[in-house]
């Protein structure tokens, strides 16, 4: 029996920019970049189209840099709702072929079509059909990689863009993959890249042929993992659509519309973040046992600190308070603050029997949690702004940020952590 898997990796090209060009035909022949909004200071290029790229406009670049390289660049603010709609429609197409669809961000997905080849034909034929449907139904293009594992499939979708299908199998693996720069491999970031290049490994082929002991010595556990990746032997499964990952922590952070100048500002932001974090924990029916804060100042120096809680909690009041204590203890106020984050970690199931306590503090926690739950309920029915802490009105600019529903695309890890 053929035990090989058939994995596709679909990558919608220049996704945000393509969606904008689809709905605005007048922009299709212009250099275009979708950028984080300037007023709220997230002024970086999120996606550039294929006309802007030759000018050197790249993802992550500040808007002013992009303008310098391409003065007639059309800059658009992101419309996350629309991108999410397109992403959902793409997923509906994928799900016509398999129920094993694992998204990686809004624009990329892995599909395991091993069980679908008898129904729909060989994997390249499926890729062709999907590519055609994305073009017809969504009006944008995708690059698809076809291989027998996730890592190689991703290399395939990156290999030729836009609107292409690349199959990588045993017959052409060395020819296609070996010359690629080692940075093309998932999980080779700047730090790993430097370590590898220091020992003369600049291509995936070099990495594949390097003895695994050498890599393990240099990179530890990750060395062995990268070695299997480079040899196209990744065995990680494509998660099923209904897979619920084992979530270990819930966090939120925000770059604020203005710098935070004093403790009152920070307190207010922590309250906002805590409300969002706690509300999300309640959606997961969990409580956290650890609180972590993250602070980044105007010079982009950052640090994080954490503390264990006496008992599991999902009270926003308590999380904000602990976060604020941590902050007071560790921030010397050399500079104003640009962004803050709050995370509840060490999640435990809220339903599992809670050790009841005789002490007043626990009763108070329970009371606060019930208040929070009531607020969730009200907001669900009447909208986020229907009920709010009065303190948030002391600073309308900061107070009106909706961190929970304001579109944060939560990063996803490859290892499903």
């Amino acid at each position: 029996m053929d035990r090989r898997r058939h994995i596709l990796h679909c990558d919608m090209n220049c996704f945000y920019a393509s969606v904008e060009m689809q709905r605005r035909p007048e922009l299709r022949d212009k250099p275009l970049a979708v950028c984080g909004s300037q007023e709220e200071r997230h002024g970086i290029v999120l996606t550039a189209n294929y006309i802007a790229k030759p000018y050197g406009v790249k993802t992550g670049m500040a808007i002013w840099q992009a303008r310098q390289r391409c003065p007639h660049l059309v800059i658009l603010p992101p419309d996350m709702d629309e991108y999410i709609r397109f992403s959902r429609m793409a997923r509906e197409i994928y799900e016509d072929y398999t129920d094993q669809v694992e998204p990686f961000g809004l624009d990329e997905s892995w599909l395991d079509v091993t069980g679908s080849v008898r129904l729909f034909g060989d994997p390249v034929a499926i890729a062709r059909e999907i590519s055609g449907r994305i073009k017809f139904e969504l009006g944008i293009t995708a690059s698809i990689g076809v291989a027998d594992n996730k890592i190689t499939a991703k290399l395939g979708s990156d290999y030729k863009k836009p609107d292409a299908i690349t199959r990588i199998g045993e017959d052409n693996y060395r020819e296609i993959v070996y010359p690629l720069p080692v940075e093309d491999l998932l999980y080779v970031g700047p730090a790993t890249s430097k370590k590898l290049r220091d020992i003369g490994i600049s291509t995936i082929g070099r990495l594949a042929e390097c003895p695994v002991e050498v890599l393990a010595r240099r990179l530890g556990k990750m060395g062995a993992v990268l070695h299997t990746f480079a040899n196209g032997r990744d065995s990680s499964p494509v998660q099923r659509s209904d897979h619920i990952p084992n979530i270990k922590s819930v966090g939120n952070s925000a770059t604020t519309p203005r710098d935070l100048e004093n403790e009152e500002d920070v307190k207010l932001m922590l309250l906002l973040l805590a409300e969002s974090v706690c509300s999300r924990m309640r959606e997961l029916v969990s409580r956290c046992t650890e609180v972590e804060i993250y602070v980044r100042d105007t010079e982009l120096n950052s640090f994080s600190r954490q503390r264990k809680l006496a008992a599991p909690s999902c009270s926003s009041q308590e999380l904000a308070q602990v976060g604020f204590d941590l902050f007071q203890k560790h921030y010397p106020w050399r500079r104003p603050i640009r962004s803050v984050g709050l995370r509840g970690a060490g999640l435990v199931e809220a339903q599992s029997s809670l050790q009841l306590s005789l002490f007043a503090e626990d009763q108070r926690r329970d009371k606060w949690e019930r208040i929070d739950a009531a607020v969730d309920h009200l907001r669900q029915r009447y909208g986020y702004m229907s009920v709010r802490r009065a303190v948030l009105d002391t600073d309308p600019l900061l107070g009106r940020i909706n961190v929970k529903d304001g579109h944060t695309v939560h990063p996803v890890g490859y290892f499903g952590g």
Partner: protein, 81 residues
């Protein structure tokens, strides 16, 4: 190719018991109210000419096939400029 523009239009619609929508009349403007004689096809499609993605209804109106699109709850046509 003829220049077209995205024109949002009011549409009289019947909700079938199956949950399907059946557009009845396209109220293009005061003088032009088009009765949809038959819906030949419904599918999701991108409208490349004027931009937009949604459910595309292929309608038979006065003997001619015309596309009518439903995007995010709003109807539009590719109108002649």
């Amino acid at each position: 190719m003829e220049k077209r523009e995205k024109r949002y239009v009011p549409v009289v619609v019947r909700f079938e018991t199956t949950g399907k929508l059946r557009p009845l009349v396209v109220e293009f403007d005061e003088e032009h109210q088009y009765v949809v004689d038959k819906v030949l096809d419904v599918r999701r499609a991108a409208c490349q000419r004027v931009g937009g993605v949604g459910d595309r209804y292929t309608c038979l109106i006065r003997g001619k096939e015309t596309y009518l699109w439903l995007e995010k709850g709003v109807w539009f046509v590719e109108a002649k400029k």
